[in-house]
């Protein structure tokens, strides 16, 4: 009994400690700075997305004039060939990847995590089967899978999110399953088994908390990928209706319309994608550094 309590207590303390560490203790390490920079950019995008109606000076779909104009004081990102204000489109466009990432991550997590928990905890034939299916999907090129499913589902933010969720379910599943399988082996779980605690309680109280730690890392890794996949779908002409401003679509439309004459209508949405994905990548790099003990520097010895 003593062992399990101590372990759980340590666990909780270490989780809180690490979370605090990210925000305070790590703020001067490279990892900490990466996380901070990433967070600032991502939060900025979220703010822009939420406040789009107030930030954007024009209706994103409205043809404010006929034809492309380069960036000017009136249209800071210029206008595209059908006369839409690019700044407004970039601002409104922030909603798409954020919404897609939010919906798809929740879906992937909601499906991948329980499957991973069950699979890793109970093992056996079910585990083997699930691992096989998930590995098959995982080893399949994400974009190819997305394209096939997107073609089936049709357009819309929710549909695109479903597609992307499907692609990233195995990512959540794999990490969580492996994590659970290894946590399970650890002494305190065995001890609680020996004490005949209900399995569900073991799962939620002793297995879940350490596993939960890896979720932010998977999230930040798959979020950047998800945005790129969504942009790739848009580039291939699958995904969203054209009256939803979308960076990926704007890039591909600009390219189709003759990139050289209106570089600004491709450059700015492209930069927006890179900024957001890179920011997410920074977060994942930093979190990984902080949370992955294998990579932590050996301080003593």
């Amino acid at each position: 009994m003593a062992t399990t309590t101590v372990s759980a207590g340590l666990l909780r303390r270490s989780m809180v400690g690490r979370a605090l560490g990210i925000f305070w203790g790590q703020s001067r390490t490279v990892a900490g700075v990466l996380v901070w920079m990433g967070l600032v950019v991502v939060v900025a995008f979220v703010v822009v997305a939420v406040l789009a109606p107030w930030i954007a000076p024009y209706e994103p779909n409205f043809s404010v004039q006929s034809g492309a104009t380069p960036p000017s004081s009136q249209h800071v990102f210029g206008t595209n060939p059908i006369g839409q204000d690019m700044f407004s489109r970039v601002v409104w466009g922030a909603r798409v990847p954020l919404a897609v990432v939010a919906i798809s991550s929740i879906l992937s997590l909601a499906i991948g995590a329980p499957l991973g928990l069950v699979s890793g905890y109970y093992g056996g034939l079910l585990d083997r089967f699930l691992v096989l299916v998930m590995d098959s999907i995982y080893a399949f090129p994400g974009l190819l899978l997305a394209v096939v499913v997107a073609a089936v589902l049709g357009q819309g933010i929710v549909n695109v999110s479903l597609v992307i969720a499907l692609v990233y379910i195995p990512t959540y599943f794999r990490v969580i399953r492996n994590h659970v399988a290894s946590v399970k082996e650890e002494l305190f779980v065995e001890a609680s088994d020996a004490l005949a605690l209900p399995r569900m309680m073991v799962l939620t109280r002793y297995v879940l908390p350490p596993v939960a730690q890896s979720i932010p890392v998977i999230f930040s890794v798959s979020a950047a990928d998800a945005i790129l996949t969504q942009a790739g779908l848009s580039f291939l002409g699958l995904g969203l209706p054209v009256d939803i401003p979308d960076w990926g679509l704007d890039v591909s439309r600009a390219v189709q319309r003759g990139f050289q004459t209106n570089w600004w209508s491709a450059v700015f949405p492209g930069l927006a994608i890179i900024s957001l994905t890179t920011a997410l990548a920074f977060i994942s790099e930093g979190l990984n550094d902080i949370l992955n003990p294998l990579l932590r520097r050996r301080d003593t010895r």
């Binding site: 073609a151 942009a231 890179i274 890179t278 990579l295």
Partner: protein, 340 residues
């Protein structure tokens, strides 16, 4: 850190053994996904009119039979190497793919080479100068590279190096004015060299540079991360410390001990990298008009060409088997512990 001898070998063996059920699962998934699709291939074939022929064609394609019969038929055909005929070109899909495979292989090998060279360089610089400006710079570079939309990057490359500077062509595998080299391997660079067509070789190489660099650089971001992580581990390994204690030269410690050991786990993940590479190839081939499998898939999706899509999936599964074998050999070459 005991990198268990058996686990690596088991991993590779497992990969090989799993490819069969994985292929099966993939084929099943694709079959049902595509059959569930609302897009009717028959409508795609017909133009704005000619509805009267739809039933005939549907029957001739076997699309009127129950789904499970279609499914077994589909598996049986794949098993016998018959992937059907493309709904559009009417040519056997296996043939179409065989024609396009070399282009993708050529691009893939070149991109992989770029990715590994750049990725290893970035990762090594990063790991050996941990937390110093060079590390931060390399990591930023890797992060930006890996998170750049590949189509956008390809377009920028075209604009700078093909349109702006005029160094390379914007797309394709060979200048249209040069005759195609005779088909030996299907890789233009290799075939032209084998037949001594030096000008053709140079031109093929010139066409390969931009797409391979685009795809390779993006992928290098992934490698850089992996190399860095593994280098950090191997730099801390006991044998590295022991080698240092023996006064082994820094360079030798670095190459023979740290880097080579770091590359073993990197090599074993090339299989997964291939999935990323293939995703990237769909976009890269589209941007650079590179007539490979990726482009074939992109066209097949737009046109709802089911046999073509299925063929591409079978091809991909076969490639996975092939890659597993290659990884097995590569890992064995790198790591004596799995050479039994």
């Amino acid at each position: 850190m005991p990198r268990a001898t058996s686990s690596l070998r088991a991993y590779v063996l497992q990969r090989l053994a799993l490819t069969v059920p994985m292929m099966f699962i993939l084929l099943t998934l694709v079959f049902y996904f595509l059959r569930a699709a609302p897009g009717d291939p028959v409508s795609q074939i017909l133009g704005e009119r000619n509805a009267q022929f739809a039933d005939v064609i549907r029957k001739q394609l076997g699309l009127d039979r129950p789904l499970y019969i279609q499914y077994f038929d589909y598996l049986r055909r794949i098993f016998t190497g018959d992937m059907g005929a493309s709904l559009f070109t009417q040519r056997p899909v296996a043939e179409d793919i065989a024609h396009r495979l070399p282009a993708t292989i050529e691009l893939t090998i070149a991109s992989m080479a770029v990715a590994i060279v750049v990725g290893v360089l970035l990762g090594v610089v990063s790991a050996t100068r941990r937390d110093r400006p060079a590390d931060v710079a390399s990591r930023l570079t890797a992060a930006v590279l890996y998170n750049t939309p590949i189509f956008w990057f390809g377009i920028i490359m075209q604009l700078i190096f093909a349109v702006g500077l005029g160094w390379f062509d914007v797309g394709g595998r060979l200048d249209a004015r040069l005759p195609l080299p005779p088909t030996i391997t299907g890789l233009y660079t290799v075939d032209s060299l084998l037949t001594g067509q030096f000008v053709t070789f140079l031109d093929a190489l010139k066409h390969l540079v931009l797409p391979a660099t685009t795809l390779g650089l993006v992928l290098s971001g992934f490698f850089a991360r992996m190399v860095r992580a593994n280098m950090l581990q191997s730099l801390q390994a006991d044998y590295v410390e022991a080698a240092k204690a023996r006064g082994v030269r820094r360079g030798d410690v670095f190459y023979h001990h740290a880097l080579k050991n770091a590359m073993v786990p990197v090599a074993t993940t090339i299989g997964l990298t291939f999935a990323i590479l293939f995703s990237g190839a769909i976009l890269t081939e589209t941007v650079f008009s590179w007539p490979g499998i990726g482009l074939y898939v992109a066209n097949a999706i737009g046109a709802r060409d089911y046999p073509a899509l299925q063929g591409a999936v079978v091809y991909y599964a076969l490639i996975m088997v092939f890659v597993s074998v290659v990884i097995d050999i590569l890992a064995a070459w790198l790591d004596p512990r799995i050479r039994y």
